[in-house]
Symmetry: C2
């Protein structure tokens, strides 16, 4: 059964990864062109404004501000010139990140499907993806609780009473979790993103609680150099952090 | 015990409402002034631009676009003149709505705490608010499942077999839920918000799954007249819809 458990766990990891991968590919295919068209429209509007702005009235400027505001609210970043439209929000890496925020229900909303096809696919994708993610996190949580069991067995061998062991492993699980999943990552975000420590704690908590406001998102500042593997480390932090919180709620 | 159950349920409703109410008041107190300052800064920037825009260079316009984009991304709506700064995003109604998106972990992110005090309070508030919300939704779910039990007893009195009853009530619960919590509200959103039907389904699903991107939010279009009690109806829909989904996952 030890071996069949391992096979079951591997199958789960493979199907979970495949599901996310395929989702990312479909979303990119559905959204990339629509996004490009929206970007082009904003850039044309800006260019028309730039060519004529010495002859415009205050009302024209107000209309320009309004159009610009709506573009930003729709997720278009109107700073810079035409060449920047080549950098799509819906490249594979961003699409995969988006799919992760869907199945975990974090839903930052920094990237959203705008086409009807993308939105309908999102509903179908999440309908199966969210339960699959719960099963996957449950499997990860099992690994985390094995660590606690080992600690318990070690204390039992030292001759400690069972009731005391249960309390100590629970305390260990809670305190270590807060240190490893909140305090330490907040410090990493402080360094890598240039946030204050309290902003780091706020971001870490808002992410792992799956509230996911999207006001702070890691790796999104265009003028910063991020350490290598930063994004992968963040993904691992989110997976184990969510599994840890799911375990806490099941205790 | 019937009576003590009712007392327990009433106590839960009262403490849940009080918790949200106090939270809304604290957030408003913490955030209102900081928001006003940010709005004033954007308006001053716009006024300076408007006074000088016939003498500005293209680089000045680009900088203006950049500043404006950042303001919108921070949640400031820069359209209109100074008088609109009096309309705070952090009035009581909006603050209460915000608190609801925190404890439910929907987290649209259309309104977020910007001050360090507001962010730290948000972490503390959610730490107790999310578990309290789960307990509250569990209580609402009990009410919903009582409806199914009644249907089951009625079918049992008609002489139906227990296994068939269980299957039928489950089917009834699923189909009725999809109709009442997804199909019908999507139609209401189509009429009240001017969205397409598929946009309504997308919004309803993204909300009840607690993904909460924040790309579509009800009652937020300044140029639309919403029916009376629209917001209250939406709140009731969210509460019962979340309770319904929580029950589905526990089946
Ligand atoms: K969210
Ligand atoms: K969320």
């Amino acid at each position: 059964t030890m071996c069949s458990n391992k096979i079951q766990a591997s199958l789960l990891v493979v199907s979970y990864s495949t599901y996310l991968l395929l989702g990312a590919i479909v979303f990119r295919a559905l959204e990339k062109n629509a996004e490009k068209e929206q970007k082009m429209a904003v850039i044309q509007m800006k260019e028309a404004f730039l060519q004529n702005f010495t002859r415009l009235t205050a009302a024209d400027v107000e209309q320009f501000v309004k159009n610009l505001t709506e573009a930003v609210q729709r997720g278009v970043y109107p700073v810079g010139n035409e060449s920047q439209t080549e950098l799509s929000n819906w490249d594979f890496s961003n699409s995969f990140f988006f799919v992760g925020t869907v199945v975990s229900t974090i839903g930052y909303g920094t990237l959203c499907p705008k086409t009807a096809a993308g939105q309908i696919f999102c509903v179908l994708f999440a309908s199966f993806g969210i339960p699959l993610n719960i099963v996957f996190l449950h499997q990860v949580g099992k690994m985390l609780s094995l660590l606690c069991e080992r600690l318990g067995r070690w204390l039992y061998a030292k001759g400690m009473k069972k009731k005391k062991i249960k309390f100590l492993t629970l305390l260990f699980f809670l305190v270590m979790g807060i240190l490893v999943f909140l305090c330490l990552p907040s410090f990493v975000f402080q360094v890598a993103e240039g946030w204050s420590y309290s902003e780091g704690v706020y971001f870490a908590f808002i992410t792992l609680s799956t509230i996911g406001f999207g006001d702070y998102v890691v790796g999104k500042q265009p003028d910063r150099n991020y350490p290598p593997y930063y994004r992968s480390l963040v993904a691992i932090w989110i997976i184990f952090g969510l599994a840890w919180i799911a375990l806490l709620f099941n205790l």
